[in-house]
């Protein structure tokens, strides 16, 4: 499973970071950084939660 970020659509609301702090965070400029894009079973629930809370649908799982 892979997390895909639609970067132009991301506005840095940061709700994904709260849902999955171990997978992603906003950097000092407020740009989203994906710690890793390939997601194993252990992180699947957190990844799905992050995708779910993005208010502008900038994240998806493939």
């Amino acid at each position: 499973m892979k997390i895909v970020l639609d970067r132009p659509r991301c506005e840095g609301h940061g709700l994904c970071e709260e849902a999955a702090p171990e997978l992603m965070h906003l950097d000092d400029d407020g740009e989203l950084v994906l710690v890793r894009e390939e997601i194993g079973e252990a992180d699947a629930a957190a990844a799905r939660a992050a995708v779910r809370v993005c208010p502008v649908a900038a994240l998806r799982l493939t």
Partner: protein, 392 residues
């Protein structure tokens, strides 16, 4: 196998429905995820998953010429990000959010918290106050005026203009007809405003500078200013009025926030879920589509009922209870997807600051009866007397 939609004689813009839409929402949700309403010539989307699905699918549920419920307002909104689809929408949205995204707003947090804390502290010291004028309106008007750089005539008219800009999104009823001239004043002002009319160093001045540098198309700065005022004032006022009323009615929930301030964002999510500031918002279906087992024909007008989805028992357990700990991060009140509320970061800064200030200082607010006045699109409290303050 698809069927035609169930039909209801409910009128979404009837005075009684506008003041308390929740019984109508429940009746419509029980009929189906999509219900045809001949009174409004729309298909209403009522259940959580149906609404979330529609908000995420701009190709099927178009905003172009479709967000309002009368042709005049849809004509007037042509060319705004609100009423356009990608790819045009993508560029307009970027210009709108450049100064409004959470990353652009990060520097404002401390200032907004200080403003909210000073205002809440002053009102609580009075012992009794009218919470809508003195707090729910006062804070967003000050924050938005300072941010965009409104002074003089624009500052004096922000509340009237903001209310009218929302009202005219409704069908062509008396409220809409009376509000068009006022919305027209805002439109007129925005079409003639220049950089010099806005405070130096403000975001509004910055938008004109971006236009001068060619970063946004010529003539669009006024449109963006229009959207900041038209979309950002009335809705934030509604949210803050709602949160004061809900915490006055539920002191146990305020106590939870006081004991654990990390619940402040969750508390605001629950306020927004429980009472959606926006009642109905339009889309147009671009193709014959099956929604929740029901066939909706190409060209049909859709009314998205955010508040109905927010109380859908298929998605939220015990949906009619106000419970801050449920933290409904996926509530529908900011919309979702490409048109998700562009100002939600600013709304959160303001509301979180007010919730924090109340939770720190107040054991209980004793409120009188709230006054509600029917409005086409924004559901908000008109007057909320706080009769007594019981401090921590």
């Amino acid at each position: 196998m698809t069927d035609s939609a169930p039909v209801s004689d409910i009128d979404l813009f009837d005075d009684q429905v506008l003041v308390d839409p929740y019984p109508a929402y429940a009746a419509l949700r029980d009929l189906g995820g999509v219900v045809r309403l001949p009174a409004n010539d729309v298909y209403a989307l009522t259940r959580y998953e149906v609404i979330r699905g529609a908000l995420g699918d701009w190709e099927t549920f178009s905003s172009e010429g479709a967000i309002g419920f009368n042709p005049m307002v849809n004509q007037a909104l042509t060319g705004t990000s609100l009423a356009s689809d990608p790819p045009a929408h993508t560029r307009l949205r970027a210009a709108l959010t450049a100064n409004l995204s959470p990353r652009a707003l990060r520097g404002l947090k401390a200032g907004i918290e200080a403003k909210a804390d000073a205002l809440v502290g002053k009102l609580l010291a009075q012992g009794s106050f009218e919470a809508v004028d003195a707090l729910a309106r006062a804070l967003p008007l000050e924050v938005v005026a300072d941010l965009i750089g409104f002074t003089g005539r624009a500052r004096d008219n922000m509340l009237r203009w903001g209310q009218a800009a929302m009202q005219v999104i409704g069908p062509m009823n008396r409220r809409t007809a009376e509000s068009f001239p006022i919305a027209g004043e805002l439109y007129e002002w925005c079409s003639t405003v220049t950089a010099e009319d806005l405070t130096p160093g403000s975001v509004g001045r910055g938008i004109f500078e971006a236009e001068a540098r060619g970063e946004i198309p010529p003539g669009t700065a006024g449109h963006i200013i229009h959207q900041y005022l038209g979309a950002g004032v009335d809705t934030t006022i509604a949210s803050i009025g709602n949160l004061v009323a809900l915490f006055a009615a539920h002191p146990d929930q305020l106590a939870l926030v006081r004991e654990d301030p990390s619940l402040i964002p969750a508390a605001f999510n629950e306020v927004l879920r429980y009472w959606a500031p926006l009642h109905a918002w339009g889309r147009r279906v671009t193709r014959d589509v099956e929604i929740d087992g029901v066939r909706v024909p190409a060209g049909a007008k859709v009314a998205i009922l955010f508040g109905a989805g927010n109380r859908d028992p298929r998605h939220y357990e015990d949906p009619d209870a106000f419970l801050v700990r449920r933290n409904p991060v996926d509530h529908l009140s900011f919309g979702y997807g490409p048109h998700g509320c562009a100002g939600q970061g600013l709304a959160r800064l303001e509301a979180h600051a007010v919730i924090g200030a109340l939770a720190r200082r107040v054991e209980r607010l004793v409120a009188g009866t709230e006054v509600r006045v029917p409005a086409n699109v924004t559901r908000s409290i008109e007057e909320l007397p706080v009769l007594e303050v019981i401090p921590v």
